[in-house]
Symmetry: C2
DNA sequence: GTATCATCTGGTGTTAACACCAAGTCAATA
DNA sequence: TATTGACTTGGTGTTAACACCAGATGATAC
């Protein structure tokens, strides 16, 4: 798969795809003999996963560390799991925070409704 | 109330407080005759509200617009309400997105658990 | 063979949201 | 009265996460 197709498939720019590989957000992508990237299912899987994590705000730095550990094989399983757990907790915190603010906003809006009636 | 006290109270830097005022994230803060900021309850209320919104990711730009409308008086009530509604919807979308990713992460972690048992 | 592509690498530019700094003012304190 | 300390403004610096650009290469179309 060419970078243009992957770019299309996941709605990401080619620049972002190359950036992700450069900084280690995904493992190295296989190349054709002439050096052109040739994405396979494995690479696409990573891209999809990283894209999803990035969209929800997991920092690049954390994901780079995860990929680094992953590439060191099964001996890092335990650490990787811990890393994911940490992010899960962070996510839960953020969700709770957002929900609280959501309620606050909602009641502020209700206030506006009340004011209209008067 | 001095800026140092407000800074302490809301755990924000003095720089951030001045920045918020400068860009219009909060209405102008009253000053003592010598020009020093003297925050009252009204100002503190704004700071608390804006701080809360910013923490959850509502863009500065949107909040500036809200404050601008607010300062134009009650004739902008309807627009302000619409603005808040838009943000509420955005928040709901983001929360849904985060929750989906949360579940994904959680099951990935469960996978790690399974692998350990074998 | 040459014009047209898409791709490559290496480097610089951008944006949001502050953080930091310097030089000046003012009030209180020793 | 001299020093200390908090505050002021105006300006520049920082960081993350890409976006954009230029020049070179290699395959394909004509």
């Amino acid at each position: 798969m060419l970078i243009s197709e992957v770019s299309e498939k996941y709605s990401m720019t080619q620049d972002t795809l190359r950036y992700y590989e450069r900084v280690g957000l995904i493992p190295p992508v296989p190349r054709k003999p002439n050096g052109i990237r040739d994405y396979d299912d494995y690479s696409c899987g990573w891209i999809e996963f990283i894209h999803c994590m990035r969209k929800t705000g997991v920092p690049v730095e954390v994901l780079v560390e995860y990929v680094r550990l992953y590439q060191q094989g099964s001996k890092t399983k335990e650490i990787r799991k811990e890393l994911l757990l940490t992010e899960l907790n962070r996510l839960d915190d953020r969700i709770a925070n957002l929900q609280a603010t959501r309620e606050r906003l909602a009641s502020k809006i209700e206030n506006y409704d009340d004011l209209e009636k008067s």
